[in-house]
């Protein structure tokens, strides 16, 4: 209990440090957003006066700590500011892209658990058989191959075999769930597969450990069938570290989703983030990155709490 309280206490400290990091990193960049706006992507020309005037207007000429303090104060009041480059409120950009990225990450996460745990259990139970070897080759290649390469290959296959083209927009979930899922299923499967192999390896080793235990021998001696024995006794114990690992991976999943959006032309946060970084759009990048960090840190905390609840040794202390 006190462990959780301590962690909750550390959360804002970590986030503030992270926000300082992001703030600092962006500000040391050469070139700034005023330049990007005025030059309109490198084509317009502007005078030094126009440049200074725009800087003043955007508040870029204030000392750094003043800028940071004012930004932090805005954040606390949940005023995420306006994108300097796109001239739209940051919240709007977030609201547009976040659901898509989050949906992709969530579906991918579910896939990774389903595929990973299944593969892991099978390779553990059927250790050293041909099934094990085949699946281990699959898992190893999943680890080495970059996800965006697998994605590209899948797109290649779809284009060549089915004359399919990446769709331009995305149909929202509530409007037409089936079309929406159709578009998400491939990228989610690919990201999910790459995370699944990590989970499979972990499941395999914990499962192997559990299967060697005496209580499993009792189960088999009792005459319990393979499936029942595994399901009732082995699975729960083997899965505890796996579930926590999977939870910690959620951050990497979101990062993977950001890259995958490129290939499958899903207008989520990925494209927004990369464009914003490139034009040094401070408010947008800061808000997006702090938001990502928030999701990451909160999900880690949830995993810690879930572990405390799942592990009977911790729960019934």
């Amino acid at each position: 209990m006190s462990y959780i309280v301590r962690r909750l206490f550390l959360l804002p400290v970590t986030l503030i440090l992270a926000s300082i990091l992001i703030f600092g990193v962006l500000r040391i960049l050469p070139g700034d957003v005023a330049q990007a706006i005025l030059s309109q992507g490198g084509e317009g020309r502007y005078t030094e006066q126009e440049y200074q005037a725009l800087r003043q207007q955007l508040g870029l000429d204030r000392p750094l700590y003043v800028q940071y303090a004012s930004w932090l104060w805005d954040m606390v009041r949940l005023d995420l500011g306006t994108s300097m480059y796109l001239k739209t409120p940051v919240v709007k950009e977030l609201a547009r892209g976040l659901p898509l990225t989050f949906e992709l990450a969530l579906i991918a996460w579910l896939f990774s658990m389903a595929i990973g745990i299944t593969m892991g259990v099978i390779t553990a139970v059927r250790q050293d058989t041909w099934v094990d070897y085949v699946l281990r080759i699959v898992t190893i290649s999943g680890v080495a191959m970059p996800a965006y390469w697998t994605g590209s290959l899948v797109i290649l296959l779809l284009m060549v075999a089915f004359a399919w083209l990446p769709p331009v927009g995305v149909v929202p979930l509530w409007q037409d769930p089936w079309a929406n899922l159709q578009q998400f299923i491939f990228p989610a499967l690919i990201i999910g597969f790459h995370q699944a192999v990590i989970i499979a390896r972990m499941t395999r080793s914990t499962m192997l450990e559990v299967l060697r235990q005496d209580y499993m021998r009792t189960a088999w001696a009792k005459g319990l069938g393979l499936v029942t024995g595994v399901r009732r006794h082995a699975l729960k114990n083997a899965l505890i570290p796996v579930v926590t690992l999977s939870g910690y991976q959620f951050g990497n999943l979101m990062a993977g989703a950001l890259v995958m959006e490129f290939i499958f032309t899903i207008p989520g946060l990925g494209r927004t983030l990369f464009e914003a970084i490139n034009v040094r759009d401070y408010p947008l990048v800061q808000a997006l990155v702090v938001f990502t960090a928030l999701i990451f840190v909160v999900s880690n905390l949830l995993v810690d709490i879930a572990y405390g609840w799942l592990n009977p040794k911790v729960r019934y202390r």
């Binding site: 992270a18 970059p146 290959l153 284009m159 060549v160 990369f274 490139n278 990048v285 990155v289």
Partner: protein, 278 residues
């Protein structure tokens, strides 16, 4: 010889080492064995399929794919090795110090810093840093090493803490060994094994992240050839027309990362004290 026994004990690791040597030789010998200049444009010879004059074909601008792959190896490998060497070493050393001085202000300060750095997924951190520092090889190296350092710091910190608890350390102190002596002679050597393990494990990751950074356009800009670059161009524009442009760079990345992973696994199997006496 040690190499022979390693090959016999860990055939997979040896295979991984072979793959790595292939990549490394490709990178080192690129200026000698590349048939063409990687940025040289051959007008009228765009999108040639592999075979004939250009062994692995040409790309959109008529550049030789084989030469670009060879020169790309130089970048991927140098970034991977340099960033791991830098990040793992710096992170590990601070980690060992931090663990040795556990509970002090030095330690707490770095712990908070590590927490803050680890609040970002590795790829995102590396991406932001490399965009911040400009799109060049040096900035990608710095970015990736900064993303890996916290991990190394944490692992080595716990290694140092457990090394510190050993009885021989207690004995050393009892007979009056000075603290620096205890640190360098007793604690530090125990931390070499974890350092090598995470170092080799990070190598594959580093190359993956480097190619991901190039893929989204935050790496060395064109016409420099990196594997990630080549893949990005191929995917975004003409996958259907020239499938070899999609397959080949990805294959290069996968095989190299695979080799490093195999080697890393073998190193861990040999050095991890928990798996010893198996």
């Amino acid at each position: 010889m040690a190499v022979g026994s390693f090959a016999r004990r860990k055939p997979l690791g040896f295979f991984g080492a072979l793959l790595i040597m292939a990549s490394v030789s490709a990178a080192l010998l690129a200026p000698i064995i590349a048939p063409h200049d990687p940025v040289e444009i051959f007008f009228g010879k765009e999108f040639r399929a592999p075979g004939g004059e250009f062994l692995l074909g040409t790309d959109k601008y008529g550049r030789d794919v084989l030469s670009r792959l060879l020169y790309g190896a130089r970048i991927s490998l140098s970034v991977g090795l340099a960033s791991v060497a830098l990040g793992a070493t710096v992170g590990s050393f601070i980690g060992v110090l931090s663990g040795f001085l556990a509970g002090s202000t030095f330690d707490t300060m770095f712990q908070r810093l590590v927490d803050a750095l680890m609040a970002f997924p590795t790829l995102i951190l590396a991406l932001i840093l490399s965009v911040a520092l400009g799109a060049s090889v040096g900035s990608v190296i710095t970015a990736i090493s900064l993303s890996f350092a916290p991990q190394a710091l944490r692992v080595l910190r716990s290694a140092a803490i457990s090394a510190r608890e050993a009885q021989y350390v207690e004995a050393a102190r009892a007979i009056g060994c000075t603290t620096p002596r205890v640190f360098f002679l007793h604690v530090l050597p125990q931390c070499v094994a974890p350092y090598l393990i995470i170092g080799t494990a990070m190598l594959g990751q580093a190359i993956t992240i480097e190619s991901a950074i190039s893929f989204v356009g935050a790496g060395p800009p064109p016409p420099t050839a990196t594997w990630g670059n080549m893949l990005a161009e191929a995917v975004r524009h003409y996958a259907e027309r020239a499938p070899w442009l999609v397959i080949l760079p990805g294959l290069a990345i996968s095989l190299t990362v695979y080799g490093f992973n195999l080697l890393g696994d073998a190193v861990r199997d040999v050095l991890d004290p928990r798996l010893r006496g198996h």
